[in-house]
């Protein structure tokens, strides 16, 4: 793990409290993500994984507490510092969320056109490189509707990486993919994490993915409205005494573990 070598954490969450209407989802959540770490947020359906991701990327406002991403407190940040923060992070949504009216090249080029003064030729070269990084070289002029689910996700990843962000967020990257494509995407995420040193925060409940990619995980629980386990997933699988953690990692119904 690269956590030890980093000075300041990439993400710090302090006493985060959040929910919808009158339903409390997180009650004083605390955790940190180190620089260069491949950090996985896991838990069963409905435990608030995706809500936590939306909070971390600033799409949802917390009721209380602090979320500091790349040194910016996103719960109090103004428009200008939020804009600065957004160029430093990339998000791959579950559906890929590519713009359907644009080609892959146009999708990837969009952040480059908005935030850099690069010439069209330079942008074209960078776009080709990003697409090649996710094994989509030659698909520049295809529209998202012409691609398979796995290709759309990889193209979404290329777009998320366009500005070389220091943190990449993934929402259920392997959802809806066949095991081979999912495994390829897992390896791609791992390779990019190791190769580029990008901090990665992955929300998933896919056990195979977790075991393949995660440096460290936090597991969220509905009852506790917070973290029920934290650490190396392999360690947790072997040594955790928590029935929910055991049930999750051994893929067994909870009542058989209790």
């Amino acid at each position: 793990m690269k956590t030890a070598s980093s000075n300041k954490p990439a993400i710090t969450v302090e006493d985060l409290t959040a929910g919808y209407d009158e339903q409390l989802i997180f009650d004083r959540l605390n955790f940190q993500v180190g620089r260069g770490e491949l950090f996985v947020i896991l838990g069963g359906s409905g435990c608030g994984k995706s809500t936590l991701l939306r909070l971390l990327i600033g799409l949802k406002t917390p009721a209380a507490g602090r979320i500091v991403v790349n040194g910016v407190d996103i719960s109090t940040a103004g428009e200008q510092s939020m804009k600065g923060l957004r160029t430093g992070i990339g998000v791959l949504f579950q559906s890929g969320a590519l713009f359907g009216s644009m080609t892959l090249a146009e999708n990837v080029a969009l952040p480059l056109q908005e935030y850099t003064d690069l010439s069209p030729a330079a942008i074209e070269r960078i776009v080709a490189m990003k697409l090649a990084m996710v094994s989509l070289a030659g698909h520049e002029n295809h529209y998202p509707s012409e691609l398979s689910g796995g290709m759309v996700k990889r193209a979404g990843l290329a777009r998320a990486m366009a500005l070389d962000p220091s943190i990449l967020f993934f929402d259920e990257p392997s959802a809806g993919l066949d095991p081979i494509t999912a495994a390829e995407l897992d390896h791609l995420i791992k390779d990019l994490n190791r190769g580029l040193g990008t901090t990665m925060v992955v929300v998933t409940h896919d056990l195979d993915s977790i075991m393949t990619i995660a440096d460290r995980v936090i597991m969220l629980g509905t009852e506790k409205k917070g973290i029920i386990a934290e650490g190396d997933p392999r360690e947790l699988k072997m040594h955790s005494q928590d029935p929910l953690v055991q049930s999750f990692f051994n893929r067994q119904p909870l009542k058989t573990v209790l």
Binding site: I57, G58, L59, M82, K83, R86, T87, I89, G90, V91, F93, Q94, S95, A97, L98, F99, G100, L110, P111, E114, Y115
Partner: protein, 396 residues
């Protein structure tokens, strides 16, 4: 036990109340064999399935009606096929007010599995969340909050649109001109045929209707004035606005709504783009530029339609018709109408985009927001038109 699933209409035989034993192809047969050691023995045969559920329930009730409340022993030896609905019907005999203890005998392994599976389910618990009944006061409160939220949403959107507009004036190169041109083509060029056709037909109808009356007084020439004034002052901008609301307002709402549902708008936000500046502003700007042009086009076709009737039906010359039309309409009329159509354009495109941003969840929401976009746009256009009518009345 046969594994075939009952196919529709394969048996029309029913159990008539009062018969002790029913014969029929696949129809369940229920017979009471009497009491054995304090238990009522109920023998079943045939297919105990969803298809025969209602008749079976009636039959159970009539068979057990006059009998003492002793436990039931249900013999399943002759049952050909038991599905989950059939098993549920059997188990319900042991539940509720008239329920008696029940046990099953001679069940096949498959039947036992189904009964066992159902036995493990919590079939009789109450719903955790009781259905809430609101009073009229609560409904009124909910509706008020809904209206306030809607108003706040529209105001926020208008504010953001205004900010985007100021930003565009200060830094014109930041406007996505390619998008604006594309939208101008979609709203304007693609809308030309239908705007032209409808305007011409409206011109024809107006000329026909007015000619019938004016002919009686020998005032045929005033058909040109009537059509000209009506088209330029009211019908041209209004018809164009309604067509643009139907064609483009709905398209904006559906496009942005789908992007909301597919999280494309969230992706934009996380990339640091303002969705209003990126998605809504080019559409509103394109509509502002192109709807007045479409309205001019509508003037030409509307007056052309009237002229068709004037020339072919009333023996007016083209020159006379045009001269009479030009005499009736003023530059002030044309300019105010074009300004009016620009306001209509902002309303239609604005409400279309705003409704799109309100879409949440799935396809149904996109559909209802699209409908709402068109209805609200037409309503606002008519309200704005009334306001213009009053203001222009005093101005002129």
């Amino acid at each position: 036990m046969g594994n075939t699933y009952p196919w529709p209409g394969h048996s029309t035989a029913t159990i008539s109340p009062g018969t002790q034993r029913m014969e029929g192809h696949g129809v369940p047969i229920i017979s009471v064999s009497g009491e054995v050691e304090g238990e009522i023995l109920l023998s079943l045969s045939g297919r105990i399935t969803l298809e025969h559920l209602e008749t079976m329930n009636r039959e159970f009730q009539s068979r057990l009606a006059g009998l003492p409340p002793a436990p039931l022993a249900v013999d399943l030896a002759e049952v050909d096929y038991l599905d989950s609905a059939g098993a549920l019907a059997l188990m319900m005999l042991g539940k509720g007010d008239g329920g008696r203890p029940i046990r099953f005998v001679n069940a096949t392994p498959q039947a036992e599995q189904i009964i066992d599976l159902l036995g493990r389910l919590d079939l009789y618990s109450q719903h955790l969340k009781p259905v809430q009944h609101f009073s009229i006061l609560e409904y009124a409160g909910e509706a008020t909050f809904y209206i306030i939220r809607g108003f706040r949403h529209i105001m926020t959107f208008l504010g953001e649109l205004l900010v985007a507009m100021i930003h565009a004036i200060r830094t014109p190169h930041s406007v996505r001109w390619a998008d604006v041109l594309d939208q101008m083509k979609r709203i304007g060029v693609d809308g030309l045929p239908i705007v032209g056709l409808i305007s011409m037909l409206v011109g024809v109808v107006m000329a026909f209707m007015s000619a019938l009356q004016l002919k009686q007084f020998g005032a045929d020439i005033y058909v040109a004035s009537l059509v000209g004034i009506a088209i330029v002052k009211e019908l041209g901008p209004m018809m164009t606005a309604i067509i643009v609301a139907g064609r483009s307002g709905s398209a904006f709402a559906a496009e942005i709504g789908t992007m909301m549902v597919d999280l494309e708008v969230d992706a934009l936000v996380t990339m640091g783009f303002s969705p209003v500046r990126f998605l809504a502003f080019p559409k509103v700007l394109a509509a502002m530029l192109v709807v007045p042009l479409l309205t001019m086009y509508s003037f030409i076709f509307g007056i052309g339609g009237g002229m068709l009737v004037g020339v072919l039906g009333l023996d007016l010359t083209v020159f006379t018709y045009i001269q009479q039309t030009l005499k009736s309409i003023t530059t002030f009329d044309i300019v105010t109408s074009l300004i009016k159509s620009m306001v209509f354009a902002v309303l239609i495109a604005g409400i279309g985009c705003q409704r799109g941003f309100q879409a949440r969840g799935g396809a149904e929401s996109v559909g209802s927001m699209t409908t709402s976009a068109v209805v609200s746009a037409i309503f606002l256009v008519i309200v704005a038109d009334s306001a213009f009518a009053i203001v222009l009345h005093y101005l002129s």
